[in-house]
Structure formats: structure tokens, C-alpha cells
């Protein structure tokens, strides 16, 4: 149920606007955009593809945020360890970020 991979929208089919050509490192396939009709993607957008349908738009911002957090892994922990020594446990910024918890 879970094989879904990212692809970039190259072109929307002029005759059937619910279909788009999506590129995955040089492999192209027509993908149905019907499940994203509430906020239709445009050429250049990245989408998650599963069984020939686009399931979700991929947020570059969220991906970048995640990369940043992962890069800081270890550094944040080191900071926390250091601060722990000062008895400031309750003042440590929340990890992971609040917006991941809603």
C-alpha cells in the first residue's frame, strides 16, 4: 500500500486537464491529478505518485525544514546536555518543533 514516489509535473494534458505528465529522474508517465482537485498542481510542482495518481503535493519548505532539523541532530542534543548542567531543563526549546504536533 505504500510504494509512492516523488515526481515533478512537466506538463498538463491539454485535452484532459486531470492528466499530467510527471517526470521521475527521466522516466515519464501520465498521472491522474483528480485527487488534488481542491488545489490543482501546476507544471514545476512536485507530487507524490501512487498507482498512477497524485496523492499529495510535496512541500519543499517542509522538506528543507526537516533536513535542517536532521542536520542539527546531535548538535541540539549536545546543547541540551550542556544546558542540563545549568539546571535549565524546563527552558529548553521543544523538540521536535511544535508545528509537527498541531
Amino acid at each position: 500500500m505504500c510504494l509512492a514516489i516523488p515526481g515533478q509535473i512537466v506538463a498538463i494534458d491539454s485535452q484532459n486537464t486531470h492528466l499530467a505528465t510527471v517526470d521521475v529522474v527521466g522516466v515519464r508517465r501520465k498521472v491522474d491529478l483528480g485527487l488534488l482537485q481542491d488545489e490543482p498542481p501546476v507544471p514545476g510542482d512536485w507530487v507524490l505518485i501512487h498507482v498512477g495518481f497524485a496523492m499529495s503535493k510535496i512541500s519543499e519548505a517542509d522538506a528543507a525544514d526537516q533536513m535542517e532539523t536532521l542536520t542539527m541532530l546531535g548538535e541540539a542534543a549536545a546543547a541540551i546536555e550542556e544546558v542540563r548542567g545549568y539546571g535549565l531543563e524546563n527552558e529548553i526549546p521543544d523538540y521536535p518543533p511544535q508545528r509537527w504536533k498541531q
Partner: protein, 346 residues
């Protein structure tokens, strides 16, 4: 004189497509039915080509049949596969192909121009490979059989001097060499069939690997322990066969295995493993550790060998298995292909 009854160990009630896919099922059929009945009591490990002694001279001989749909695809056609496939089987057994005979099984209704195009392709491929087409046979079957045409080629060749390849000569510490990117041919065919609606700029890699094998043998002689062309079943199947035949472990380094982006993309989309996909223009070699670096240099200096790379080495453990290490210190076993590689959605 009592004759022993040869028992066959192949128990399946009917032949399935998987028996021709080059993986475990094929091996069961060959080892369980063909070998006991055809190859006598001690067949030995089954290689790409047979070496037969005639009056003191060792001749290499091999045969292969080509059943491909569609007949023409980006980068080649059934005709070229038929010539290059047999030349390559001889090459990886350490022999130069000298002559090939061809059998055609043609479907009634096949347009002549298609047949002519294939025969031209075969003539061209043979000339390029430096092999003579010495004869052949033709049969025609009813419309609806033979998918247009089936081609079988049988080739003989002369062993290169200095060659002593066998799985038994493989030792721990030996290196595994791959001539170039994998998966091109199999994915090209899959896309050319049109069922999956995928498009990519991919071509079959069909070519004769003999010049590369020759360069390797010249450089290393007996340092070349084993070779194979990973056709159906891919690199995983060929290396698993070696591992079983020599009882040692083959440990590969995942990030060293070259895969073109579009092959990778198609495999990710369809849930396929490039290591199980057929190749028609690449070969694997196991080289002794002292020759490995010079072998690589020799290949890279040969036209067509620029992308050759060392992808792993032979170990004692895990015995009779192929292990792939991931870039993160993890590892996984890679098995032979079970049936045909099937796209998956899960």
C-alpha cells in the same frame, strides 16, 4: 548390464513462465530435469558455455534462444541480441567466438520486411563482433505462435590462452568487477512493451563484450577466476549462482553499483530491484586481489570499458550467499530472482 534409472527431481506439474525467467525456477528445471537426464552422473557446475575436447583441442560451444517482445526496441532488436548473446556466452567462458549457426522459427504472416531487417541486423552484429555466420535452419509455424519470430543461435569458439576460469578457483579476498551500468536492457524492454505507460530515454545495452574480456585476460591471465554475463535474472542471479557453486560469500558495496538515473527511476516507480534486471552488454568477473587494480585499468582503457568498476569482494561468510552493504553500515541479503520481476504497488 543393468542401467541405473535416473530420477528427476523436478516435481512441478506444468511449465510456468517463471521457469524461463533465469532465476530459481529456471535453475530447478535445469538441475532437476535436464541435468539428470542429459548430462550424466556428474554434470558439474553449469556454466555459460561447454568446453569440449576434440582431438586434443578444447572448443567452447554454447546455444541460446531469443524470445523477445517487441522484436525491435531502442538500442537493438532480436537479431542483435541473438548474435551478441551467443558471442558473449562464449566470451565469458574465456573463448573467442569463431562461428555461429542460426535457427529461425517464423510465424506465418510475419511481414518479410521485418524478417529482412532482423537478418540485416544479425549480419551487422556478426561483422562487428568478428564472428562468421556459418549456416542455419528455418521453420514456419502457424499464425498465432512464435510471437513473430523466435531465433536460436549456437556458437563455437576457441579458448583464449591463459584462461583458467571456474567457480572452484575463486578465493576469499578476490574482487568482483562489473563492466558498466546495470538494468538498461530489461527496463528498455519493459517500457517498449507499452503496458506500463512509462517513457524514458533508455536503450538496450546489447553489444559484444569480447574485446573487454580479451583485454582482461591479456592483463590478468589466470588471475581471472570466473566470468558471467548477467542476462535474465540480472547481477543478483549470476552472483548467487557463483556463491552456491563455490560455497563462499560475495559482499557487494551498494553505492559502487552503477545504475543510470532513468533505470533507477523506473525501478523506484515499479518497485523493482536493478540487481534482478537483465543486461545484454555487461559482464561480471571475479579477479584475484593482486590483479584487481590493473584489471580495472586495462578495462577502462579499452573502448566500451570506461565505466567498469570494482563492486565488491569474496569472503568466507555468509557462505553461498550474496550480501549488499548499504552506505549506512547496514546490510541485506540479495537472493536470486524467484520468478519474473513483477512491478509492485506496495
Amino acid at each position: 548390464m543393468a542401467t541405473a534409472v535416473t530420477k528427476i527431481k523436478f516435481r512441478e506439474p506444468q511449465i510456468e513462465m517463471s521457469h524461463g525467467a533465469g532465476g530459481k525456477a529456471s535453475r530447478r528445471l535445469v538441475e532437476g530435469l535436464f541435468a539428470p537426464l542429459l548430462f550424466g552422473s556428474s554434470p558439474g557446475p553449469l556454466g555459460d558455455a561447454a568446453h569440449v575436447q576434440i582431438n586434443g583441442t578444447k572448443i567452447a560451444m554454447t546455444t541460446d534462444s531469443f524470445v523477445v517482445k517487441p522484436l525491435r526496441f531502442p538500442g537493438g532488436s532480436i537479431g542483435e541480441l541473438a548474435i551478441n548473446g551467443t558471442v558473449n556466452d562464449l566470451a565469458v567462458s574465456g573463448a573467442r567466438a569463431e562461428a555461429i549457426v542460426v535457427t529461425f522459427v517464423l510465424e506465418a504472416g510475419l511481414p518479410t520486411e521485418i524478417l529482412e531487417a532482423e537478418v540485416r541486423a544479425m549480419a551487422d552484429a556478426a561483422e562487428k563482433a568478428g564472428v562468421k555466420i556459418a549456416g542455419g535452419d528455418t521453420k514456419v509455424v502457424e499464425h498465432g505462435k512464435a510471437d513473430g519470430m523466435y531465433v536460436t543461435t549456437t556458437g563455437i569458439g576457441r579458448l583464449l590462452s591463459g584462461v583458467e576460469i571456474s567457480p572452484q578457483s575463486v578465493r576469499p579476498g578476490d574482487k568482483v568487477l562489473l563492466s558498466g551500468p546495470i538494468g538498461d536492457h530489461g527496463i528498455t524492454i519493459l517500457l517498449a512493451r507499452g503496458d506500463l505507460d512509462l517513457e524514458a530515454d533508455l536503450r538496450s545495452d546489447t553489444r559484444s563484450v569480447f574485446p573487454l574480456v580479451q583485454a582482461l585476460v591479456r592483463e590478468c591471465g589466470a588471475g581471472v577466476r570466473w566470468m558471467r554475463d548477467p542476462t535474465r535474472g540480472g547481477v543478483a542471479t549470476s552472483l548467487n549462482e557463483l556463491a552456491r557453486d563455490c560455497g563462499l560469500g560475495i559482499v557487494l558495496c551498494e553505492e559502487k553499483i552503477p545504475v543510470r538515473d532513468s533505470v533507477r527511476g523506473a525501478c523506484e516507480l515499479l518497485g523493482l530491484d536493478p540487481m534482478h534486471i537483465a543486461n545484454e552488454g555487461q559482464f561480471l568477473a571475479v579477479i584475484s586481489s593482486q590483479h584487481a587494480e590493473s584489471a580495472l585499468r586495462a578495462l577502462r582503457a579499452t573502448p566500451g570499458g570506461e565505466e567498469a568498476i570494482l563492486i565488491g569482494e569474496v569472503h568466507e561468510q555468509p557462505d553461498s550467499a550474496v550480501l549488499v552493504t548499504t552506505p549506512y553500515g547496514g546490510s541485506r541479503l540479495v537472493d536470486m530472482l524467484v520468478g519474473d520481476p513483477l512491478p509492485r504497488i506496495c
